[in-house]
């Protein structure tokens, strides 16, 4: 069964009240899946948020091999979580906490979308029945988290732009907590908080929050927008094509990108043609892949308009050399 596009929460409320069991696929970018059993949310995943696989392997809590073993053994029976506990790799409390972290991390992006959704009846997540969360509690948590982010620092660009630590302190001394240290140590001027959370295997919301707190303290600032294509849309940006919204079939990663992510900075999947002119980047009117708010959209259009000019032989105003401008000024002055 599927529903036309409207606020996702309304549709979910109806389905949860009906006590459905299955996978609810969110079709709008960033895309993702909510698993429900008898109307309770049991798992959620979204390419923007750390799944259980990354939380366990990228953080170093479990070796990738152990994770893969558990997945291989428990995937078919949808009991991966149980395998991890039985194998003595995790305590039940750790498993519950990790699944909740992944679930609420994904919910943060998914539960504020206006999106068409599709219900695949009967599907269950491979991790197994570990937790049950009431939809209203999940929504309340999403609202609390968004408030917490805005209270920490209202500039939502910090979520979707590269984290750029300042080169020098304005004061004498600063104290960082463990997560802030990891963020600063791994910030390579390209990774967004979402990328950093994934490569560190840290809770996505916690990472977003610490980045905003550091932004308030003037320790980091926003660099280029980008990273995972999904990044900015939950803030309420417009509609954008995205190819990386595809989700794994049963809500579980194999941990295969665990090593790759740590070594290589993520690529910037800018849609073809949206790459801004170099000058625009310098001027900070980047029309990059992830517009952030309604305010940014006029800027994106503005950078697109020079194309009309460059159709002819004349140079695009965006790349107009200073010498030409000086000649024009001199010419006007001579009149």
């Amino acid at each position: 069964m599927s529903q036309p596009s409207r606020h996702l929460r309304d549709t979910l409320e109806t389905w949860c009240a009906m006590g459905v069991t299955g996978a609810i696929r969110v079709l709008a970018p960033p895309g993702g899946t909510l698993y429900v059993a008898d109307g309770w949310i049991t798992y959620a995943e979204c390419p923007s948020a750390c799944g259980v696989d990354r939380l366990l392997t990228a953080s170093g809590r479990l070796p990738v091999a152990s994770w893969r073993e558990a997945v291989a053994a428990g995937r078919a029976s949808h009991r991966v979580g149980e395998r991890l506990v039985q194998g003595g790799l995790l305590t039940p409390v750790e498993l519950e906490a990790t699944v909740l972290s992944a679930l609420h991390g994904a919910a943060l992006f998914l539960l504020c979308l206006d999106s068409a959704i599709r219900l695949d009846m009967g599907e269950t997540p491979a991790i197994g029945p570990v937790v049950r969360v009431d939809l209203r509690d999940a929504c309340a948590e999403v609202d609390r988290r968004r408030r917490a982010l805005d209270d920490a620092w209202p500039d939502s660009r910090m979520d979707t732009h590269a984290v750029v630590p300042v080169r020098s302190l304005s004061g004498h001394h600063v104290g960082l907590n463990a997560l802030q240290w990891e963020i600063v140590a791994h910030a390579d001027r390209r990774r967004t908080p979402i990328d950093l959370a994934r490569s560190l295997g840290r809770d996505t919301f916690a990472t977003l929050l610490e980045v905003r707190r550091m932004a308030r303290a003037g320790l980091v600032g926003p660099g280029r927008p980008g990273g995972r294509g999904a990044a900015g849309r939950w803030i309420g940006a417009g509609d954008h094509s995205s190819a990386d919204a595809t989700a794994p079939d049963d809500g579980i990663g194999t941990g295969e990108d665990a090593d790759e992510q740590a070594l290589e900075p993520p690529a910037h999947p800018a849609p073809a043609g949206a790459e801004p002119a170099p000058l625009a980047v310098v001027a900070g009117v980047d029309a990059g892949p992830v517009p952030l708010s309604a305010d940014d959209r006029p800027l994106a259009r503005r950078t697109a308009s020079p194309v009309r000019w460059s159709d002819g032989a004349g140079p695009s105003p965006d790349v107009c050399p200073v010498s030409v401008l000086l000649r024009i000024r001199d010419g006007l002055a001579a009149l």
């Binding site: 809590r61 003595g88 305590t91 409390v93 750790e94 972290s101 948590e141 001394h173 295997g201």
Partner: protein
């Protein structure tokens, strides 16, 4: 003995004078599980509060000289409405869990509760 969240909370609620307990992911403010009463509207609000207190304690360089790595074991808040104890579940570089217990001021014994929380926390993380 390896126990789940419910078992862990039961064990905390067995502390003399315990009014309420909460297992909190202090990096995100998420309540992983809760039992008993709560000093605020609900357990989720309490968990968020625990997270805020933990954040302040961990990011304040109180009593630590510059450049030294600090480790906080617990936070104790003595208030009119009781004792509030937050114990960090340590041992792992990525530790993000804290046990919170709200104690009755008349019945509770801080030192006993601290010892109790410490041993519960030790059981939470597999070897």
């Amino acid at each position: 003995m390896v126990f789940d969240t419910e078992g862990c909370l039961r064990q905390i609620m067995a502390i003399r004078g315990a009014l309420g307990a909460n297992l909190v992911d202090f990096t995100s403010g998420l309540s992983v599980g809760a039992a008993g009463r709560t000093p605020s509207e609900d357990h989720h609000v309490t968990a968020a509060g625990v997270s805020n207190v933990a954040h302040s304690a961990l990011s304040t360089a109180a009593f630590v000289s510059t450049g030294q790595v600090n480790h906080v074991d617990d936070i104790v808040v003595s208030a009119e409405n009781g004792y509030h104890l937050i114990h960090f579940v340590g041992g792992r570089p990525h530790a993000r869990m804290a046990l919170y217990v709200w104690l009755d001021r008349a019945l509770g014994n801080l030192a006993m509760a601290q010892r109790h929380l410490r041993s519960t926390a030790a059981e939470l993380v597999a070897g």
